[in-house]
Amino acid sequence: MSAPSGPLGVLAARLPGRADTPAARVVPPTGFTAQLTVFTAAAMSFLAVFAIAMALAAGQLADRWQAALSQSATIRVSAPADQIEAQTAAVLRVLETTPGVGAARRLDDNEMRGLLAPWFGTDLPVEALPLPRLIEVTETGAGFDAEGLRLRLAAEAPGAVLDDHARWRRPLVAAAERLRAVSLVALVLIALVLAAMVTLAAQAALAANGQVIRVLRLVGAEDRFISAAFVRRFTARALAGSLAGTLAGLGAVALMPRAAADVGLLAGLGLSGSAWLWPLVVPAAAAALAYAATRVAAARTLRRTP
C-alpha cells in the first residue's frame, strides 16, 4: 500500500486529519481505499456541480417562460368594417370586468406592421388593409379563466377570437420544470451514491485495518479514540476530494460556451451572479456525508471487535 499521491494526495496531506496528533497517527495511510474516497468525492462533486448548474438554469428558464406566459394572450376581432369598432369596444369592456386580467390594450398600426414584418417586410400598408384588430391582454399573477372569457366574448362580440398563446409555451415551461426536477433528483442520487461509496470505502478501510483496531483495543484504547482517527481521516479526504471536484466542475461550467439568451436552456448551463455560490455548498455537504457515513461504519465495526 502506498500513500495517496498526486495533487489530491498533496491537498489531503495539508488537511487537519493528517495532523500529527496521536489519534490520527495510529491509523495507517490506508492506501487504495484512501484514493478511492478522494476520487469518489471528487467525481461526485464534479457531477453535483453540473446538476446544480442545470437545476438553476432550468429553474431560471422555467421562470422566464412562466413570466412570458402571463402576457401572451391576444384577442383578435374580425368583423365587417361597420361593426369592428363597436365589437372592439365591447371586448375591452368585457376584459375590464374579467378577473385575472391585468390590462388590455389595442395594438396600434406600427405594432401590427412589426408583427407582420417577418413575412411581408415593413412597408405593408396596414391602414389600407381590412385587417382585424388585435388586443393584447396582460394577465395578473393568478391568470384568467380562458374558457369563461371565451364564452363571454362569444356573447358580447361574436367576431372576437381569444388566442391563448399559453398553449404553445405551456409544454415548454412544463419541460423546463421537469428538467429542474430531474436535476434535483440527480442531485439527490449523487448525494446517495457519494454516501454509499464513502460508507463502503470506510468499511473497506476499517475491514482492512482489522489488525490495527484489534491492537488498539488490546492496549486499552476507547472506541471514541479509534473512531475519531478514522472519522477525521475520511472526512478530511472527502473534503479534499470534493473541493478539487467542485473546482474542476466550476471550471468546466465556466468554460461551457453560452448561446444567445433566446436559445435558452440548451446552452444556458452557465451560472451567473450569486448562483456561483451554490456549488460551494457541495464540499461542505460531502464532508458532512463522509463524517456521518464513517461514524456509522466505525461504530458498526468496533462493536464487532471485543
Binding site: 490495527v212 491492537v215 483495543r217 488490546l218 492496549v219 486499552g220 472506541d223
Partner: protein, 224 residues
Amino acid sequence: MIGFSSAGFGYAGARPLLTGLDLALPAGSFHFLTGPSGAGKTTFLKLCYGELVATEGGVTLFGTDVRQMDRDGIAAARRRIGVVHQDCQFLDHLTLTENVTLPLTVAGRPVPERDLADLMAWVGLTDHADARPPELSGGERQRAALARAVITAPDLILADEPTGNVDWEMAVRLLELLVDLNRMGKAVLIATHDLNLIRASKSQVSARLLRIRDRQVQAAGAEL
C-alpha cells in the same frame, strides 16, 4: 484482581471448553498456566482481559463483573493489564518504539525516556528502535510484544507463550524481567508449554502452577 466463580466457556457451536473455574489471581501473585495444545490456555487468558465473556458463571476484573462493564469499562481495565498475545500483532506503519509506547499514547500518558531505553536494552531491541514491525524477526517481535505489555508497569501481566520463538538465554532474560515486575507487586500469569522455563523460575520466585486438564484449571503444586 481477577476472580472466576464457577465460570465456564465454550465457543459457539462447540462443546464447552472450560467449566467450573473457581480461582483468583490476587495482586502480587505469579502463575504459570500449562496444558496440551488446544486445551484452552489462550481462551483462559482471553477471559481474563475481557476479550471473551464467560458463557457460564462469572468473571470479575478488578472487582467488577465483566458482564456489567461497557466497552469503555473494558478499555479502562485493559489499560491496567499488559497482554502478550500468542500471535504478536503491531501497527505495521509505526516504528518499533512507537509500537512499544502505544499503551502510553492511548492512555494519554507521557513517555518516560529513561525507562524506555532501559527496557529496549533489556529485551535487546535498542538497535531496532526505528524498524517497522514487519522488518523484525520472529523472536524480536515476541520481545517487542513483551516490552509493550510492561511499558505501563500494569497491575497484571498476561503473557501467552512469550518465549516460543526466542533462544534459551533470552527466555531466561525475559523471565527475569517478569520476576522483577512481580517483585514490584505486579501480578503475572504466563501460559507456556516450556517446562524448562517453569523449572528455571523455581529459584527466583515462588510461582504457582496451573494446569488445564479435563476442561478444568487445576493447581498442580510441585509435581513437575
